[in-house]
Amino acid sequence: MAAARSVSPGGALLRASRLFSLPAPIPPPLGDITSSAYNSESSTQPFPTHQVITTLSSSRKRGDWGLKRPLPLKTTTKSSTPMLRVKQIDSIEQITDYSSAADHGLTLKKFQELRLPITAPTKNQNGGYGADRMNLPKRSVFEEDSDFTAVDPEQQGAVKDKRWKFNGPWLAGMTQGDFKKWLAKNVRTRRLEFRQFLKKKLAVEMLRPATQKALDNGEELPSAIDPETISEEQLTEYLRRLRQNNQELYDMVGQFLDLAPLQPPTMSDVRLGLLGGAKADLRTTENPYADSGPPVTHPSAGISYLRTAAYLDNHPIYGPQRNHPPQQARVVRPRRQAIDGKLGVAGFVVETPHGDNYSNNKYNYNPELDRLDPGVEGGAKLWVQPQRASVDSTGRVQVVVGNAKSEDELVVKELLGEEKMFGEVPKPVEEAPPRGGYRARAFGAAQLREQYKNGPKISSAQEYGLGTISHSSR
């Protein structure tokens, strides 16, 4: 209220304006350092970093996008997908820095046509590589028990297995330099605060045996210990004890700095000696983001706000359908021996369906999936059933598809007009009576098509009667 009162009328207007409500750009995705061969500056980024804007057609004709100056008509009026991202409203060169955002805008539209809800990653039970691929039931990211950000600082520890947002970093994702910088800047300055924090913890711990005893004997509970009364010697002794217990120390530090949870090393890592002899008596965490880090945005990334895909599609003739309509996917990379193929669905590259299914049958040769045929115009396509989608910790959308059932495929093709409707009786072609006159007969579209149905007519010697002459001469 105080802020609203101190703002001038113009300032209040500006705050409510559309230009000011454009969100600040988010940091771009990190480039794939490991595969420098595939680095491309013009390729579509894994996720959008700028707000996409559009304008009305009447304003677009004038170049009016609500920005500093009218944008060049040559580049902004020809597109059928008028979407822009504005990097700078006015640059030092006195131009508006913008580029087309149709890539992300269209991808969003296509994805929303799939009507897939975003699911939260599940705890990787086996710790194995392909565990997430199994068709275990998934939950939406919008479920109340996991989708919250406002947490009471006292309760942070209690819900650490369900949260996705943390104040502290995910240590496994930091480089050594980042880690050192973070230590110097954010951690060293909080030493005294941490000692106070530990004193509070120690006060609770010191009281625990007395409390337990009182409970056992049915006596009155002892009064709480004031943390200020704990001496430095007691605290140092407590610290020594903590250092002997990795798990407890990590819990204390993690709670104090609100660190994102880390998955402890697996037994195989320990056996291989990758940890340099560190103890492996760490407790595993149940947080689904412990394996690869918490997400950079809300786990839905704003790409879909659906909570479930459990609805029925209705067909006007066949009635309710068991499955959602399948989608056409383009084969981006065919399958080879043990290497999975890649498909393009709604603007996302997905892996070919896994598991025991029709397309993975050893004896079933799948010409679209197993062979690259450059002769097919637009690339080979096949029908797939989108199953679920999630956003990983780097912000990339991961779509999982299965094989489309042939019945569903047929229904979709019928609706698209690619197949004849079930039980459809073809209309009898009525022969139109000639409307009279030479032109109507000779140049009607139907007649012309009929005339050239078997290719253009080429005159021959027989037509001129020459053939008959040769016959008669023989």
């Binding site: 500006l14 009218p70 006015d90 006195q94 067909h315 039980g423």
Partner: protein, 374 residues
């Protein structure tokens, strides 16, 4: 829908007509013969399906009747519901120019968007509200206040029949300056091409051969000034409104030399000392330039209307230029002397005037002393 209330709610209509087959199916619980699952398509299916049946002749005969019913229904219900209004038409600002610009108008016209912060002219600091996403934001209140002041200037100049020149030499500003000059009346002009350097300072050469007129308070040309117009210098504007001062420094400098007041849209990178009356606003946006030019043009129209109303009542608010005044005085004296001489010549022969005294004639006196000089 609650089924038990169905008859109460829709009783008369539902019971009057036979219940359609589709709602019967929805209400019944017994299984129908409708196929709900997709079966393998078999072309050998002999029974023609419902959707490919040819309609009966009775159905076809009812089509015109149904169509008329549909049209009646549409006619009855077309006044119902909300009316969708077009809130923004890009051309509207030129067709129906606003009298004043509110803060909302200015913001919608992008008048607050300044330049990159590195490009600023520190003299504009007093107009700048703050910095947002790398650009300076011009205070809307300042813009509105300065625009009102400039509108007052234009109005008073138009009221005194001053010559107003609207200048906008950027691409797309042509219709704006033309419309503003059209609004501000016969004493306003526009410029949408390059300013010829020296049009003010060297106007005797550059504007030589231009047509000059002496007009009365009703803008009607007056006769009898031919000899004066031959030796008169070309006119200069009495006020210059410049929509893009950055590209028109030469013109503004010449105006300064000739003591001509100027009004200019000052963006955060412009020098505010180039113009007399600054309007801090975005000069790159055509919408912003159009809004400001239309408000000024409309102010000119107001001044013109006031001047016309006064002229109808015989009131003249301008001062005749000193050289014109001097010419009129000299000419009057010359004519009076001529008349005196003619009278004396006529008296000299018989001591009696031959004809009536020309100075007694009302029309002649009026010609010598125009009402606005009395």
């Amino acid at each position: 829908m609650i089924i038990r209330n169905f008859a109460v709610r829709h009783g008369r209509r539902a019971l009057a007509a036979p219940v359609p087959l589709s709602s019967l199916r929805a209400l019944s619980t017994e299984s129908t013969s409708m196929r709900t699952a997709v079966a393998e398509p078999s072309t050998s299916s002999p029974s023609p399906s419902a959707w490919s049946k040819t309609p009966a002749k009775a159905d076809l005969d009812r089509i015109p009747e149904n169509f008329h019913k549909f049209q009646d229904y549409q006619r009855q219900t077309q006044s119902l519901g909300s009316k969708v209004q077009l809130r923004y038409l890009p051309d509207e600002i030129l067709k129906r120019p606003p009298t004043d610009a509110t803060l909302e108008d200015l913001m919608a016209a992008q008048a607050h968007i300044g330049h990159n912060t590195s490009l600023w002219n520190p003299a504009n600091a007093r107009y700048i509200y703050g910095v947002r996403s790398g650009i300076h934001i011009i205070s809307l209140e300042t813009t509105a206040a300065h625009l009102r002041r400039a509108a007052r200037v234009v109005e008073e100049v138009a009221y005194r029949a001053g010559l107003i020149l609207f200048v906008g030499t950027r691409k797309g500003q042509t219709p704006i300056v033309v419309r503003a000059a059209e609004l501000a009346g016969p004493t306003a002009c526009h410029l949408f091409q390059k300013w010829t350097p020296g049009t003010i300072t060297n106007r005797d050469q550059i504007l030589a051969g231009g047509i000059l007129q002496i007009v009365d308070e009703n803008d009607r040309p007056l006769e009898g000034f031919e000899s004066h117009l031959q030796e008169r210098r070309p006119v200069v504007p009495d006020l210059v409104v410049c929509l893009n001062p950055m590209e028109n420094y030469t013109m503004l400098h010449e105006c300064g030399l000739a003591n001509i007041p100027t009004i200019g849209i000052i963006d955060t990178d412009a020098d505010p000392t180039w113009v007399t009356y600054q309007i801090p606003a975005n000069d790159d946006s055509l919408r912003s330039a159009a809004l400001i030019a239309m408000v000024l043009g409309k102010a000119g129209a107001r001044g013109l209307q006031r001047r016309k109303d006064d002229a109808e009542n015989g009131q003249v608010n301008w001062e005749t230029p000193r050289d014109v005044q001097q010419y009129i005085t000299v000419e009057m004296q010359r004519k009076a002397a001529e008349i005196q001489r003619a009278r004396k010549e006529a008296e000299g022969e018989d001591g009696k005037p031959l004809r009536e005294d020309p100075l007694d004639n009302e029309t002649f006196r009026e010609l010598l002393e125009p009402p606005h000089l009395r």
